[in-house]
């Protein structure tokens, strides 16, 4: 087979070797010496995992949690934004009107009756977190999620709130927003009075 030499393709040349290298044996001895050096160096890059835990960066996307507001209620307003944004369709929300006769809930209109995340289906992209207007759903740094059954890893609202209770107190995953009672969306009234957003900020706000 003859191929025309192209100008754009560079053909590599095999390096020329002398008889010393061509003998193999010195090269083999050299290789063995390198291997032996590593055997006796005593160095290791192994991390003894269960005993020594890795340092997880703060922007790690692990197991989800549902944040609580100051009164301990679930922050989520059941707007379905996360469910819509989720590319893996692992979030399922059933919304219900907030119980108006309960004084505890009187300032809220809607709340999630159920909030289920299939942790096995989730791809941990963090888009739910991005979509959430009230900063209710956040991804924590929990990376070692395991279970004996698939059912165990379908997290409902109670479980997700429990993750919040667990992670927000250890200091490893501080709540990332300090804006408003319900995050940026609750400041809507204040921002709306300022008029339309300045040009360049984008229509999405």
């Amino acid at each position: 087979m003859t191929t025309k030499k192209s100008k754009t393709v560079k053909w590599g040349e095999e390096p020329k070797i002398g008889w010393w290298e061509a003998m193999y044996l010195p090269a083999i001895a050299g290789g063995l010496a390198t291997a032996l050096k590593h055997v006796f160096s005593g160095k290791t890059s192994t991390r003894q995992y269960p005993e020594v835990e890795p340092e997880i960066p703060p922007n790690y996307r692990g197991v989800h949690r549902l944040n609580r507001d100051e009164e301990g209620r679930v922050k989520c307003v059941a707007c379905y934004m996360c469910q819509t944004a989720c590319p893996a369709n692992c979030i399922e929300i059933i919304a219900a009107p907030a119980p108006k006769d309960d004084p505890h809930w009187k300032d809220r209109d809607k709340y999630p009756e159920t909030f289920t995340i299939d942790e096995l289906r989730c791809i941990y992209c963090g888009m739910c977190e991005e979509a959430c207007p009230v900063d209710a759903i956040e991804l924590t740094s929990i990376y070692d999620l395991t279970g004996y059954t698939r059912k165990e890893l379908i997290f409902d609202k109670e479980k997700l709130l429990a993750v919040y209770d667990e992670t927000s107190t250890t200091g490893k995953d501080p709540v990332r927003t300090n804006r408003g009672a319900l995050g940026p969306a609750s400041e809507e009234a204040a921002t709306a009075s300022q008029g339309p957003p300045p040009p360049g900020r984008g229509s999405h706000g």
Binding site: M1, W19, W20, M23, Y24, H38, T44, S45, T46, Q48
Partner: protein, 397 residues
């Protein structure tokens, strides 16, 4: 029957004892060699290796064995069931069979009563039988590859078939020099001629034979620089792709038994067997002397095993045409030249130290010719030929 047993018991029990020792040690040895290999591999790669099961992970081998033995026996639909089961058994059988004439401790050249460190003592064709049987071990691999009815398995089997046939020639040729120099095919006799001083070891008289022998023996064991029969990157798992659980264990044990056999042969033929300076002369019957000599032999074997394992983690795998080139263009001429030198020295009754000179000359000569050898092994690529444009059949095998 009972009367016969009673009569033959004095000659029967040493044989049965030796068989027992081999049968008991080979599986344990195989298991622990895998463990040692994993540990060594880890250290070479700056890792820790298995260290969870027991202190330093020493029970890892047992855990592995239990896991493999309790595994579900999967028989793929498309295999030839009978051959599929025969292949691993045959593989291990031939590997163990070669150990029959292998002294694993000091064996006197004359027949003695009592326990001997060999199953069949005084076999006059010992080394020849060994080589003959070791060629049979290709059979197990080929059967496995064929019975698996899987193209990758078959590729592995065909590769190993070609490899075995090619490397048997330098293997036999390199040993011929040793046999001619010691004047016997009997392994005990060959070891006996290496008694006395340090420099009686064959390695100092025929270093080239050692290099050729060791290289081709390594190829016969299907170990790493030559493990084209099972190279994971190209052939999934080669001939044992379709095997799992206990059947895989048998193949695995066979491989490690081969490693042990090769190490024993190297120690016995080239490194003086159980002889060591200060620990030489005729084999004495005292238990201490016997144990000491066994210890010497086993330490030599351990060193060779360690060397084989280190080689595995230092050398890249050969390409198939390089593999064939090394055997046919490199090792066979060298082995022939070595044998020629030995023959000349023996025929004209020249003093033995001529052998060392010729060996030195051969080593230097092969150094000088190595460049040409290299060029024949790495075929020069023609002008403008793309580097990846290899012949199909070649790349497939």
């Amino acid at each position: 029957m009972f009367e016969y047993l009673k009569q033959s018991w004095p000659t029967l029990w040493p044989t049965l004892g030796a068989i027992g020792v081999i049968l008991a040690f080979v599986p344990v040895l195989g298991l622990y060699l895998t463990f040692i290999e994993r540990k060594l591999a880890a250290y070479v790669q700056d890792r820790l290796g298995p260290n969870r099961v027991g202190p330093f992970g020493i029970f890892q081998a047992i855990a592995d064995a239990i896991k493999l033995f309790l595994k579900e026996q999967v028989i793929p639909d498309h295999v030839y069931t009978f051959l599929y089961f025969v292949a691993p058994t045959f593989s291990l059988m031939t590997a163990m069979f070669a150990l029959v004439v292998m002294p694993f401790g000091p064996v006197p050249t004359e027949y003695t009563e009592g326990f001997r460190y060999i199953v069949a003592p005084g076999v006059d064709i010992g080394i020849m039988m060994m080589i003959a049987i070791s060629s049979l071990s290709a059979y197990g691999i080929i059967l496995g590859g064929w019975a698996s009815n899987n193209k990758y398995s078959l590729y592995g089997a065909i590769r190993s078939c070609a490899q075995f046939i090619s490397y048997e020639i330098p293997l036999g040729l390199s040993i011929i020099g040793i046999i001619a120099a010691s004047g016997s095919l009997n392994i005990e006799q060959i070891v006996a001629t290496q008694g006395g001083a340090f420099w009686n070891w064959n390695v100092f008289w025929q270093p080239l034979a050692l290099i050729v022998f060791f290289t081709s023996a390594l190829a016969e064991t299907n170990r790493l620089p030559f493990d084209l029969a099972e190279c994971e990157q190209e052939l999934v798992g080669g001939f044992h792709t379709e095997y799992g659980g206990i059947k895989f264990v048998l193949f695995f044990l066979a491989e490690y038994t081969h490693v042990v056999t090769v190490s024993f042969l190297t120690a016995l033929l080239f490194f003086g067997g159980w002889h060591f300076p200060g620990l030489t002369g005729p084999v004495d019957a005292s238990l201490g002397g016997m144990l000491l000599r066994t210890f010497v032999l086993v330490s030599k074997v351990t060193m060779v095993v360690g060397f084989i394992m280190m080689l595995r983690w230092s050398l890249p795998r050969f390409r198939f045409d390089q593999l064939m080139g090394l055997a046919w263009k490199g090792l066979i001429p060298l082995a022939l030249a070595n044998f020629l030198c030995v023959a000349i020295v023996l025929t004209y009754d020249l003093p033995k130290h001529y052998l060392a000179f010729t060996a030195l000359f051969l080593v230097v000569g092969s150094m000088v010719s190595a460049r040409n050898l290299q060029m024949t092994i790495n075929r020069p690529r023609s002008e403008g030929r793309p580097a990846n444009n290899v012949n199909f059949t070649e790349s497939a095998l």
